[in-house]
């Protein structure tokens, strides 16, 4: 190759690279650098203000491993995820199945079910904490739920829903499911539409009843979609935290803590930036491992 064409090649290369430069520049500053910094800070003790950061190796990780509150917060996130996986996804699946037939108002239902997912977690959390409000005014409950329970003959069920450690997390998980089931619904509905109707006809000809064709046609055909929804539910529910802030307030509320609120409070509350990053790295690692194995499983299923 002559010198001249090499130079021209370089020029074209550079010109073309300029197209991606703005994106790469923003990405380098606001993603790559913080990505590096979260690993770096996780090995330091730093209060966020002082000019020197103390390098402490893996001490933060050792501390985290023995941090009872951290593992408790992990348990809370698992509980929310469990409710989302069962209650929310079964509901979404049932609704999608009900809509996947010649049924009137199908478009109307889809429109309504996807309203909660487009609302912000702040709006959803504040509306529901108003409905679940436990205050009293002149002996009458303020919150709608307590009022209704009192009025319709269940005064003994009137409850401090969001302050009682026994019910707070369940309330959050249910509201989280209320906000999230529309996602599962639209994904399942799209999945149902790819199933060949002839499979059901064939099953019917073979004398299969509803449950036979449900277990032998619907479930096997939907497995890849089900796995996608499971992975998305786990990733989304384990990291949900804004809804918790908006439902129980921004203070430290031990019984509703999840890993991400621990990270947030380690930074804003106790000014331990290094430890906050250690939590982030550890939690991110756990999520990657879990989703990797689930994905491996779903690929196996596809081949089988």
């Amino acid at each position: 190759m002559s010198k001249r064409s090499a130079l021209a090649g370089f020029k074209v290369n550079f010109e073309n690279f300029l197209f991606v430069l703005p994106a790469v520049a923003i990405f380098a500053v606001f993603y790559i650098y913080p990505f590096y910094e979260i690993f770096n800070l996780s090995l330091h003790e730093w209060n966020g203000i002082s000019l020197t950061k103390q390098f402490i190796g893996f001490d933060n990780f050792r501390e985290l491993f023995q941090d009872a509150v951290w593992w408790f917060s992990m348990k809370n996130a698992l509980y929310i995820t469990f409710i989302a996986l069962t209650f929310q996804n079964v509901l979404a699946f049932a609704l999608a199945m009900a809509c996947d037939r010649e049924i009137r108002l199908k478009g109307f239902y889809r429109m309504i079910f996807f309203i909660p997912p487009v609302l912000s977690e702040i709006v959803v959390g504040l509306i529901w904490s108003w409905i679940l409000n436990a205050g009293q005014q002149g002996g009458e409950p303020i919150g709608l739920l307590n009022f209704a329970l009192d009025r319709f003959g269940f005064p003994n069920l009137v409850h401090n829903w969001l302050s009682d450690p026994k019910t707070a997390l369940t309330c959050i998980a249910v509201v989280h499911s209320w906000k999230g089931f529309g996602w599962g619904f639209v994904i399942f509905l799209a999945g149902f539409q790819t199933i060949d109707r002839q499979l059901y006809e064939a099953a019917k000809v073979d004398g299969a009843g509803f449950w036979d064709s449900f277990w032998n046609v619907t479930i096997p055909m939907m497995l890849p979609v089900i796995m996608v929804v499971i992975i998305l539910t786990i990733l989304g529910s384990m990291q949900a935290f804004v809804l918790i802030l908006s439902m129980v307030g921004q203070g430290l509320v031990y019984h509703t803590e999840v890993p991400v609120t621990r990270i947030l409070f380690a930074m804003t509350g106790s000014s331990r930036f290094g430890y906050a990053c250690t939590m982030g790295v550890t939690f991110g690692g756990i999520l990657i491992v879990v989703s990797y194995f689930l994905n491996l499983m779903s690929k196996r299923m596809k081949q089988a």
Binding site: N16, P22, A23, I38, R101, I115, I122, I127, G138, G280
Partner: protein, 288 residues
């Protein structure tokens, strides 16, 4: 007219359909009722809200919206949300379509490496990334500035938008671009005059998806903006809710102000929104 009684098969099918509708309608009502309750509560007075539990209050106080807009600061928060949403969306459309065009059509060294870097970022969950980001913004003196928040939010939407644009460009034939090139149009000119107008459906999805995302964002707005004059709605709602004695009717008016634009846009564009949402979710898992 057929006056014979419906046969057993028809009765069973009718009952089944009714039960299905009952089920679907119950869930639909559960979706809508909290929103109805929000609007209803926003029309009560400060006294009646605690005592009156009727579905439609006897007297409606529309003045709560004026109070929320002015004294509650929601007018400023609303304006800020509009500013952030518009600037971030415009920024993302320009930056990501430019990059995606190059990833789809042009050749340069390290092209695949750069592309997979963006895709990898989309799949790697990084909880707590707001910690180093806050540190960085402090260092750059971009805390409490509109620019800082806008740049951060552009970055958040970049990966998925690049992917959406690239898959779109990959699918459309390059005939028009070829003839534009023969006519002597520059590469940048082809992107602006030919590729971008063709990509209108992709632009629609990118705009809607990112607009929802920015309008509803809370955590970065909290960590980066402490000046009330710069806060968007979601942040403002939490400030209002955190004040010592919460004025519930005004808070509910504020919630309605924050939720109404989203719901209205959703009702008009629900097809694109649901499609965009599906595309977003499927692209997160498809590369794992």
């Amino acid at each position: 007219m057929n006056l014979t009684l419906p046969n057993r098969y028809q009765v069973i099918r009718g009952v089944k359909t009714s039960l299905t509708h009952l089920f679907l309608l119950t869930v639909a009502a559960t979706c809508l009722f909290p929103l109805f309750w929000m609007v209803r509560s926003s029309l009560m007075s400060n006294q009646t809200i605690f005592t009156d539990k009727s579905l439609v209050p006897a007297q409606m106080y529309f003045h709560n919206y004026v109070t929320a807009w002015t004294q509650g600061n929601f007018g400023i928060y609303f304006l800020n949300s509009v500013i952030y949403t518009v600037s971030v969306v415009v920024g993302i459309v320009l930056v990501s379509s430019l990059a995606a065009y190059a990833f789809s059509r042009l050749q340069f060294w390290g092209k695949n490496a750069f592309f997979y870097m963006f895709i990898a970022a989309m799949m790697i969950p990084l909880p707590g990334s707001f910690v180093p980001l806050t540190v960085l913004m402090n260092k750059l003196h971009l805390v409490n500035t509109r620019l800082g928040y806008i740049l951060c939010m552009i970055n958040v939407g970049l990966s998925l938008s690049i992917l959406l644009f690239k898959t779109f460009f990959d699918k459309i034939p390059s005939d028009l671009e070829d003839s534009a090139r023969i006519d002597g149009c520059s590469k940048l000119g082809i992107w602006w005059h030919v590729a971008l107008p063709l990509a209108r459906p992709a632009i629609a999805v990118v705009v809607i998806f990112n607009a929802l995302n920015v309008w509803n964002e809370y955590i970065l707005a909290t960590l980066l903006l402490s000046d009330k004059a710069l806060m968007p709605l979601q942040r403002g709602l939490m400030v209002f809710q955190g004040s010592h004695s919460v004025d519930y009717p005004v808070l509910m008016a504020g919630l309605t102000i924050a939720a109404a634009p989203i719901i209205i846009v959703y009702l008009f564009m629900q097809d694109q929104i649901v499609k965009g949402a599906l595309r977003e979710r499927s692209s997160i898992t498809e590369f794992l």
